[in-house]
Amino acid sequence: MLRFITGRLVLTIPVLFGVSIIVFLLAHLAPGDVTTILAGPFATEVVKEKLRISFGLDQSLPVQYIKWLSHILQGDFGTSIANRRDVADLVFPKFVNTAILALSSAALAYIIGFFAGIFAAARPYSFSDRIVMGVTLMLGNAPPYWLGLLIVLLVSLNWRLLPATGMTNIMGDGGAWDVFLHLIQPMLTTAAAPACIVARIVRASMLEVLSQNYVRVARAKGMRRRTILHRHALRNALPPIITVCGLQLGYLLGGVLFVEVIFAWPGIGNQLWQAIQARDIPTIQGATLVIALAFVVVNLAVDVINAYLDPKIRASEKAGAT
């Protein structure tokens, strides 16, 4: 197992290297000159050039990349051009906010998806299966922007139960309870789509496993449905489910932009969008890199969990290595 994890960790290095190049180039190849905004509309070319030099934008792209990468490796994400703050100070708190929303939404989505999927798989093609799958399909395909607004309209504006915007009461002192109250609506909105996807993959995976001969044998031996589901089917059905759950979490950690915008949730997606609008290259790079890193880490965790659950994966890895 340790060997498997080490192998996977080593593989993340070229992935992250590739990501860093793409992130760097994407931010730099976009048209537009940030000094236009920084130096104001009356700025002379001399002042603009001084600014370019101060931000290192006058150097060749490879030189800029090497400098940027070496700073990143030392934990220095640079200074935001638009906000004059450390990029790390801008990006990491926002990533934590997104992580709060993403992890809680993912947990909710997994719980709903898992139980809905198992429930449906245990009664394939029955009326209740169709109802459960129909509802998840509808919710999962509802555009988050529309769904979020609908939830706010009902919960905040009509029923006056929960706050409509922000992560804490802007006039208050915050606190965990305040964050929780603000979290409920964005969490419900964000969880809808992944819950649907998880439910469908759980159902499909379970149905596939339940059609296997060893399950038929278990049934023929008179085992209870519950025992068959829990003891024999579930573990074998888990790897594709874990993979999909991991992917969903990765997407959520990337910032659920629409939900962050509708609920004014100060997450990384919102921050990245603002940085793109301001052509704030260091912030764009920092935010994108953090998102990519989160995606890689989640995928690594998924691989490790799958390898733990499924000895065949470990075995194939070993065979591939030798």
Binding site: A30, P31, G32, D33, V34, T36, I37, L38, A39, G40, P41, F42, A43, T44, E45, V47, K50, L51, A82, N83, R84, R85, L90, K94, L149, V152, L153, L154, S156, L157, N158, W159, R160, L161, L162, P163, A164, T165, G166, M167, N169, I170, M171, G172, W177, D178, L181, V261, I262, F263, A264, P266, N270, Q271, Q274, Q277, A278, R279
Partner: protein, 529 residues
């Protein structure tokens, strides 16, 4: 507000009850707190007045800082905002309008406790105009070039007296110091020296009615009442600007009672908001106009008949009433409202698509023509630009809209139009008609100004030169209007579309808010019930 019938069902749930209690407690705290929260449409820039730009940022800057003079924004009925004393208690101007002597107000203190005197004023002016000064800030000098290019010298003539001498007479110069891009406000030298330019822009220290408390990027800017203010203290205790970039989010926030005011509400929602008890305030004299620049270096656009035809083809009423739902007003002149030179109802031509077609045929385009039109991706401009595109199509002009992301657009716009481009656009204005000069003068072609369509008429420039020398505003206004009649009525050098009445939505608890003839507000006069 409408009540949903399911409320009763949900009200029965115990958990809902507890949540409602928690939510209600937050609302109660607001009523007692005297906190005014403004839901703004985008994040602001940094808060160093000498290098800050944009109307939203100016709202914060004008709350935290003061210049020698400020705009009086307390009169909702004023046709244009006049100057009022601020750091300078009074000032005198010599006979030919070239020497301004300012008496600095006694007992003005920065938020860090240090005092303002003539040396402090000089130190600030050196920061943004003296390249040889130890604390010279080149970015500030770039931003404030439009203001400092008129200044010959700044002298301290007494402990509380500053004399500023201009290169030539310009009676609009003083008010140039209160426009929204690079502002000659007085900042605390002690704070700048202690923090450096970068940090000062994040934790600004001025003398204004509000002092900076904290800023969380994309979350909030918090300012508290300055209890040691030299003038009358602000009525509210706390002022918060909260970026809420999405229109629907801003609407939700004000309807949920989480903010006190929002900007840029959807036009079609304004009537509903009024019916729900919110105050919707507008101003007829907002100093800005939305206009099309024609490229006078492009052979097609060099023909005045084409420019006139485009002016005749645009249905301005359709934009003002149909799209903006009455929050806009058709305009044709290059003199913006909210300035002393504005001429209401100026309209040298009427909407006349048939006449436009005939003119185009006369100009040699009986089968129509194709035009390239740069537009920016920011705000809601695409809606009316598409309306203009349809109007032009009706007269045979096929306008290709090149939609460009804002920063890229600004970079291109500031360089002036390349020869192959026919039109681009902007919406802008100052509280003084000098803005029209910046947009139209021959010597304000890029990179020296914003005449990005390369319009040039020396006769117009002569009238402008005369206008700034007039102490009597009525005489100056007449000269400006004469120039305007040449720029538009004769040359059709631009196509001005409309002016915006700036609707703001206020919660019923807000009292005495004034939507002034400016693009920023005086928050010190607001009261909360």
């Amino acid at each position: 507000m409408k009540q949903f019938s399911l409320k009763r069902l949900l009200g029965a749930a115990a958990i809902a009850g507890s949540l409602a209690f928690a939510s209600g407690a937050a609302t109660e705290a607001k009523a007692e707190g005297g906190t005014f929260v403004w839901g703004i449409s985008s994040e602001m820039s940094i808060l160093d007045p000498h290098v800050a730009c944009g109307w939203l940022t100016t709202n914060a800057i004008h709350s935290i800082f003061e210049g020698l003079v400020m705009l009086d924004l307390s009169d909702p009925n004023a046709k244009n905002a006049s100057l009022k004393p601020a750091i300078a208690e009074s000032w005198t101007v010599n006979d030919d309008g070239t020497v301004y002597t300012f008496a600095i107000r006694e007992n003005v203190r920065f938020h860090d406790g240090t005092s303002v005197d003539a040396d402090v004023v000089k130190w600030n002016y050196d920061r943004f105009m003296d390249t040889g000064a130890e604390h010279a800030f080149d970015q500030a000098q770039a931003y404030l070039g439009y203001y400092t290019r008129w200044i010959k010298s700044v002298e301290v003539t007494g402990p509380m007296t500053v004399k500023i001498t201009l290169n030539e007479t310009n009676y609009e110069w003083l008010q140039m110091g209160v426009v929204a891009c690079g502002m000659p406000m007085i900042a605390s030298p002690t704070a700048i020296q202690a923090m450096g330019n970068e940090q000062f822009a994040l934790t600004p220290v001025g003398t204004g009615p509000f002092k900076f408390v904290e800023r969380e990027q994309n979350i909030k800017l918090v300012m508290d009442r300055n209890e040691d203010y030299w003038g009358e203290n602000a009525k509210i205790e706390r002022l918060i600007f909260q970026p809420l970039p999405d229109q629907a989010t801003r609407l939700n926030a004000i309807r949920a009672g989480e903010v006190s005011m929002i900007m840029e509400a959807p036009w079609e929602e304004l009537e509903n908001l009024k019916n729900e008890g919110f105050t919707v305030t507008t101003n007829e004299n907002i100093p800005s106009i939305w206009l099309l620049f024609f490229n006078h270096k492009n052979p097609i656009m060099q023909d005045v008949r084409v420019r006139k035809a485009i002016n005749m083809a645009i249905d301005r009423d359709a934009i003002a009433d149909g799209i903006l739902k009455g929050t806009g007003r058709p305009e044709m002149g290059m003199l913006s409202p909210g300035t002393y030179a504005y001429k209401p109802g100026y309209a040298p031509i009427k909407y006349d698509p048939e006449g436009a077609k005939a003119l185009l045929a006369e100009a040699g385009y009986p089968d129509g023509l194709e035009l390239d039109f740069d537009i920016y991706e920011y705000g809601y401009n695409e809606v009316w630009e598409k309306s203009i595109q349809r109007d032009l199509k009706k007269v045979g002009i096929n306008a290709k809209l090149n939609k460009i992301e804002w920063i890229t657009y600004m970079g291109k716009w500031l360089q002036g139009m390349p020869p192959e481009l026919q039109m681009n656009e902007i919406g802008w204005g100052w509280t003084i008609p000098f803005w029209t000069q910046v947009m139209t003068r021959c010597d304000y072609h890029p990179p020296n100004g914003f005449n990005v369509g390369w319009y040039c008429n020396p006769e117009v420039d002569k009238l402008f030169d005369e206008a700034v020398k007039q102490k009597d505003k009525a005489k100056a206004a007449a000269l400006y209007q004469q120039a305007n009649d040449i720029i538009i009525g004769q040359d059709f050098g631009y196509a001005v579309k409309f002016t915006y009445k700036n609707p703001l939505v206020l919660s019923p608890s807000v009292k005495h808010f004034v939507n002034p003839p400016a693009n920023w507000y005086d928050f010190s006069i607001i009261e909360l019930e």
